[in-house]
Amino acid sequence: MRKLIILVSALTISSGASAETILTSVNGMVCAFCATGIEKSFKKQAAVDTVTVDLDKKLVTLNTKPDKTLDDAVIKKVIGDAGYAVVSIERK
């Protein structure tokens, strides 16, 4: 029983640790009303848990669901389809 608890805990910790934070620097993001398209589009992505848009830092922060990730190509397409240009993508 003790071994089972340790195994379940390890799996849970392992699963939780695999969620990703993706910081995307974006050009052209000056209007909050227009940038709502970024939030709406990323929320349709199954891998995305939360989306934060920061006009001051020109940054879109994505937190993925456990064990999920989002390719750079998908991020660039979603932001491009919303009318903006990706400058850089950083993963933590």
């Binding site: 909050a32 009303f33 709406k40 848009v53 006009l55």
Partner: protein, 220 residues
Amino acid sequence: MTTLHLRANRVWAGPWTCLLLCALPFSAAAKPISYVGGTMVMVENDETGNTLNIDYTFSPRAAAALYVKHEIQGNVFTAVGPQINYLVKRWNMPDGQGNVFTMSGAGTAIENSGKSHFAAWTGVLADYETRRIFTSYELRLMYAQNIETSVWQRARVGFAPYLANYEDLNTWFMVQVDHHPDKTHATTVTPLVRLFYKTLLVEGGVSTRGTAMINLVKQF
């Protein structure tokens, strides 16, 4: 005050205005293209007439739209028809964005008597904005067979009194100048306030002749 009241009534009264306002909150003061898969409903009520635009953006460069405008203060008619909005060019800069769009459509111009005529319209809209300043210029051509062939233009400048972030209420002070030679008054100047929060944008102003302006935009 009385002048304002009377002129405001002239804009607000009438079945078209009621219809447009009843369309709220599903209701063109914003860019004619939003994000791929997004729908935007825009209602404008000003001295030139009452406009309803419903846009669906199907590609990063194009949106399919329904355009309805009830023209007043001159030839009174309603233009209705499908429209294609196209992004000709966009400049995404670190601290600003510039765009050039075209909006073209064709349909019917309906007189108050109910008589219908062929109508076609096209326009170009250029804008540039930062988080602090906004400028735009729009040139429109309206052909309504046997009623009117007109060219009109609209320019806007504005500034934000504070830098609002994404989650904040955004406030802008703007001035809109319309030049429409076929209207009773060819030139109209309207100071206005633009407020938006998330997916809802509201604009209100009063022209120098005392006519009320109310615009609403909702993104879905």
